[in-house]
Symmetry: C2
Subunit: 429 residues, 2 copies
């Protein structure tokens, strides 16, 4: 863990280094992914089955690529009642929050008689990638699937690898709860290729969303254009802005909730209190001792953790905007005022009783958020990611007469006489 | 030009070929672009100046990289009054249309006492790429800059190459009119690199938008992540859906307005009328003879043009959705009813008096629209492309008590004990 102090003369250089640290090693898997995609395009299900045997040690047939409704029901029945109740609460809250995001169509006729506006429509089909193994999170199924269904996507196809045939029943239960229409037991670049190009068993989709490993990320980049994709997620991060009123044990727990995700996760405390800085540093060390994922969290905190001391909390605002954290917690009596001054953050958690983990599961807002400083230019996942806007324009003959000459002038000024003529021919110009 | 008939037995195969035709040759410029970007990162303005000498045959100094306000004023003064009036009309209409797109913030407190919602903020800075030479379109400056300013972007920096020192005065006039804050006379991958990473003269931006050649497109792909980018535009396309009521000369003019853009542009007529099909085909040949850009339009119409005969116009709807055209014109008494059934199109132009060129210039809607079938999953440029959403969440102690146990249960079910503990520690669970 690094310590920085904004009053140090070389603070700017230190902070710039913190900003520019690369937390991900880009694995060069692009050539392998290209070959896998080509093979799935050429051989369809046969290729999908071969790669699943090779990478997941699981033998499929065209009939077992897709989970049957009975298998999904059986998996759901195998989950604990507590977990299912918690999932149902999460699903309801996520749905309510995202319903408020459904955009309105617009249409008006202006003084010239031009009718104009736009219309939002849902994508016709979406593919949802869900990782297998330890990073197979039912909460992520809800966070990706629920907004798609709220948007009105009629067909939602999920892929989830089941290495050695092992399935996470709660992932299937979440898929059922969220209204996922089809679930396939395949993963990796081969599953992305199948969603993008289609096979006999998996019909192609219009967009692919959801997190994955380096192969999945590379495959998504490659199929972009053929289909839409969501953002490529990087390691998770939290920035906690706290003053002396904060409980150091709570702050430490929140830092570690982030650090336990991944050795490349980043947890940063920014504070105006030396006492809080010291007590949080001590509390982190203490809590690390009993944390099950202590190896991961220790590495993250050691390599990427930071405590930044500022003279006043308000001095932290420009630092927050430069870091553009995925998650920003503010624990201070002035939380609202400080939040209002922040431009760049994926999500803001206000007050001491709003640990970021509430937002991961049951708060309602989406937990798929921009990482690696991309909150400067992008937003968390939402309903708009599953819809698109078509603009509408309609002129009466009078409206065309009013607007036409300007269009003709601009077309000619751009050397596009054909553009000008398509207007002029209607006006006998 | 190809002719297809939906009543032919092999129509599906022919239509599938039309769908899959690649209209762009991907130039392999990626290695060159990588080197240029690295050089601009290393050497800043010096590299920018060297590449401008080499590619644009123009010698710059750090003081002349940026256009001065006096140069921009002088360029504006050199434009014709007609062109400036037309630009002003276009700017006003684009601004009015896009103002209706400014999204609302949302905040509510639910029955449990959880306050939640979101806040939209403008990007802090945006770079606008404008091509030089013949594809340097003042209308595109307005279409990119006006929504950014409507969104509230405080800093809009434009780059436009001036090969041999030649400037398009109307491009500078459009930049001034749209409120562009800084204009730099550089282009190519080097200008994209400067906007993404910054030099002594050009401060970095958060997002880069605007069309460009293969080098610019490759550079935008490479800097994505460091900054946001807009879509990578492909060749333009129109699909005209028309019945026997349509005027064949008008339809032909609209097809050619598209075809004159680029040899790789695509213009398609879908009709239920043999008579219209024949008369449009003849009118296209006639109009091509006097079109200044006849060489381009002839190649486009020959290689990618199509006339598709359907039994009834309504049969065309599934074909439209599969093609997902950038521009869809509907010339029929049933235009509204047909439009309502279309899911995938970038923009729809309704009725015989709404040539697509009106939308290119003065209609109000944006002319930056999804190409190459990407209207299946993406929208035209708009205000939302220059804003991002930050979610907000705040729990009272009571709300945390109500939600906390479910979050603890889900955290544990996902093997993330640190997540569970960050909630449990606040509730003495």
């Amino acid at each position: 863990m690094q310590r920085l102090d904004s009053r140090d003369p070389d603070f700017e250089a230190q902070f710039a280094r913190l900003l520019s640290v690369k937390r991900e090693v880009a694995e060069d898997v692009d050539a392998a992914v290209r070959d896998i995609i080509r093979d799935v395009v050429d051989r369809g299900d046969a290729a999908l089955i071969d790669y699943t045997t090779r990478f997941d040690r699981l033998d499929l047939t065209p009939d077992t690529i897709r989970f049957s409704p009975e298998e999904i029901d059986a998996a759901t029945a195998a989950c604990s009642g507590d977990a299912l109740d918690a999932l149902a609460l999460a699903k309801d809250r996520i749905e309510t929050y995202h319903r408020a995001q459904v955009p309105a169509d617009h249409r008006e006729t202006d003084a010239l008689g031009v009718t104009l506006g736009w219309r939002w429509t849902a994508l016709e089909s979406v593919g949802l990638y869900v990782p297998g193994g330890t990073a197979s999170y039912p909460s992520s199924v809800l966070m990706n699937a629920v907004p798609a269904k709220v948007a009105g996507v009629p067909r939602l196809a999920m892929v989830v690898p089941t290495p050695d045939g092992v399935t996470n029943p709660l992932v299937l239960a979440a898929a059922k709860l969220a209204g996922v229409d089809e679930v396939f037991r395949v993963g990796g670049a081969q599953a992305v290729a199948a969603l993008a190009y289609g096979t006999a068993t998996i019909r192609p989709v219009a967009k692919i969303v959801g997190p994955g490993n380096a192969y999945v990320a590379a495959a998504k980049r490659r199929v972009f254009g053929q289909v839409g994709i969501d953002m490529i997620a990087g390691p998770s991060e939290v920035l906690i802005l706290a003053d002396s009123s904060a409980n150091p044990d709570w702050v430490a727990a929140d830092l570690l909730a982030q650090a336990e995700h991944d050795k490349a996760a980043q947890a940063i405390l920014v504070t105006d209190s030396d006492a809080l800085a010291e007590s949080v540093a001590a509390a982190v060390e203490g809590q690390l001792r009993t944390l099950p994922r202590t190896e991961i969290a220790t590495a993250s905190w050691r390599d990427y953790g930071a405590i930044v001391r500022v003279a006043r909390l308000v001095d932290a605002i420009p630092l927050v905007d430069r870091l553009a954290p995925e998650h920003l917690e503010i624990e201070s009596a002035e939380a609202e005022e400080l939040a209002a001054r922040v431009r760049n953050a994926g999500a803001i958690f206000l007050g001491a009783h709003t640990p970021e983990a509430i937002g991961d599961y049951v708060g309602g807002p989406n937990h798929v958020l921009p990482t690696a400083r991309s909150a400067r230019f992008s937003s968390g996942l939402g309903v708009l990611d599953f819809m698109k806007r078509t603009s509408l324009l309609s002129c009466t003959p009078e409206a065309l007469r009013a607007l036409g000459p300007a269009a003709v002038a601009l077309g000619r000024s751009e050397g596009l006489e054909g553009h000008a003529r398509s207007v002029a021919i209607r006006l006998n110009l």
